[in-house]
Symmetry: D2
Subunit: 214 residues, 4 copies
């Protein structure tokens, strides 16, 4: 059973744009923005990756880590590691990118462990490594920036109650009519969805709140 | 001498899109985003006003008040109250807009009191009514949303130290290379600048921090 | 009865951005692109006027004349000649603009004579002064550029048959599924439409072909 | 020596989005718009390919053929035929695409034969199969549409003089200050340029006019 308070470690077979491999454990202390993408997913190339590039330009990498994860679940012969390397070189994405460990022709391991519905998917982890947001599709810049900043205000090593308090503030301050639905991890069985879902312009997201308010 | 801890009240001769006149005093308890614009300023119509419309869509009006201020400092015969009313009707801006009280053919009263350099200008006030940011030009969505959210996390009636603490977090979390310069309220005498400054794409801003960190 | 082969002369009470008043008669020999707009019509400011600015940058003014016409049919107290002058100054539209002669509080004279449905409206006249296209809404750049170029290929003073031949080519070369409907000048009585029609993204247009093919 | 009046045939090792292989010889009678691209060239994905998609939506395929050519001159291990197939599937480009025949690790054969400088490159051929335009970078929609329409007005099988006459019209009608330079096929030896040239926003182009006017 997925536990957002102790989410699974990344399973990465190769890293680009970083000298040392990254782990969620090693990133503790920072807010982490993870974008799961496929290099041939139009919505990732047009929206997901440019958005995290903008986040990268506005948040200090000492406090907010931006991480890409190449989660190939289709076209495996096309989206090889060589192809990814060329893609990263040509587009000059300025953040570390890991290759999600393949598991045959199905979903790669991290993607499966996080029960992702497709690409682009964006995950937000707080400084304590808890998974706080899970977006599939196109969350907007303003909402994302507000959530990242709120989590960045939380202290390293702070008790769980502080995060719960920040979540209450977020719930009160953000007007978020179209994001009201939540899944309790029953998604997936009824959708079998791929990345094309992102194209219809509406977002799917999951709160994994540390508080009991939601 | 301008005091950001006790900034001057708005001088408004007429309100639109609100049944009751607004005052900064009456808005205490909310974060306030004020956009000073002119209806015939292209940068206001293309960037400033659409940006606060996006902010309005993402932040609850119970917690973050969006206010427009029509600060006519040129073309007075064109940008009349009748013209503004038609402009507001046609563009359907979804927030209250006040007419800055004219002072002959020069800058209107609020604009002068805040030493604005032109339009669009964006001011951020915290829940205690302190002026915390003063942007001239085009601040970006992500930085603005982060700053608004950080101020929204501050409690109503909290001591000044809480705001100072939040400012320290903002200074650490936001990567803000192009926004480093600050004026200590000596601007204005040497620039005589109008809204065209906004067109060169760089931003001018003033921090009025409640802390001593900056 | 409206005759596209001999369309009515412009009724203009004042010109801007030109030393001499313009007339359709005087423009004979050039293809004429006329954009009818209102300065407080969002679709005109965001689409219609920037589009003719792009046309102005690509077609020689010796061969293709771009003309603006301020057709005020609402908010008369707001869209005065003073307001228009400020608008033209601020946006720096690089083409002559005439003020359509007012007729009380209703449609101005040229707008009424051409049975326009609202703003933005774009009219294309050939070198012989015949009205060849009448668009209400947002025709796209590619189609417009193709039509303008085709008319520019027609010779000055050429017989009517040459224009008919060019129209046949246009009908064959342009793929134009959404533009198939035509009015035979019965519009207007049933629509009473204003410029908001342009907002729904589909175009209305009228062919006034010199040939009998359509 | 390159002869635009009798340009080399396409050398294509595999076709997608068409049941029958295409040849320039077989396309005679139509105006041909050929876009040479690489699937991992950002300027191709963001500008070149969307532009020909727009052309495809506006010009009848019976009269104007849109053809893609995958000219891989770098990252050969990444931009394989399998990768291209996935790319075409995901982006749903609605026109035939050929794979330019590889020639080891250098430029593929068609790219070399046409002395292309990089990607995106756009070639326009007239109904008689003559190469009339060669753009490297980002030509704009309006200019391209005008040139395509002008060539589409030329008759199939018309004498060379007709094309020369149309070129004279184009030279007179299009205002084209930034496109004035021409190479006489001496390019290449001094540039060794790749697709990054397209990123600086200026266009390089070659006229191969059938007339002697230029």
């Amino acid at each position: 059973m997925f536990d957002p308070e102790a989410p699974p470690e990344l399973a990465v077979s190769r890293w680009f744009n970083t000298t040392d491999p990254l782990t969620l454990a090693g990133l503790k202390g920072k807010v982490v923005v993870l974008t799961a993408f496929q290099m041939l997913c139009p919505d990732c190339v047009e929206h997901g990756l440019p958005q995290v590039r903008r986040l990268r330009q506005n948040f200090s990498p000492e406090e907010v880590a931006i991480v890409g994860l190449h989660t190939v679940f289709e076209h495996h012969k096309a989206m090889t590691v060589d192809a990814l390397e060329a893609f990263l070189h040509e587009y000059r994405w300025p953040f570390p990118v890991g290759v999600d460990t393949a598991d045959g022709e199905g979903m790669p391991k991290t993607m499966a462990a996080y029960e992702m519905q497709g690409t682009p998917t964006l995950l937000l982890f707080d400084r304590e490594g808890r998974l706080r947001r899970h977006y599939f599709g196109r969350p907007n810049d303003i909402m994302l920036a507000a959530e990242i900043m709120a989590m960045a205000i939380e202290d390293k090593g702070a008790p769980r109650e502080q995060a719960a308090g920040i979540e209450k503030k977020l719930a009160r301050v953000l007007a978020n009519p179209e994001h009201g639905h939540q899944h309790d991890h029953e998604h997936g069985e009824d959708c079998g969805c791929g990345h094309d879902h992102g194209h219809d312009g509406h977002d799917h997201h999951h709160h994994h709140p540390p508080g009991n308010a939601r």
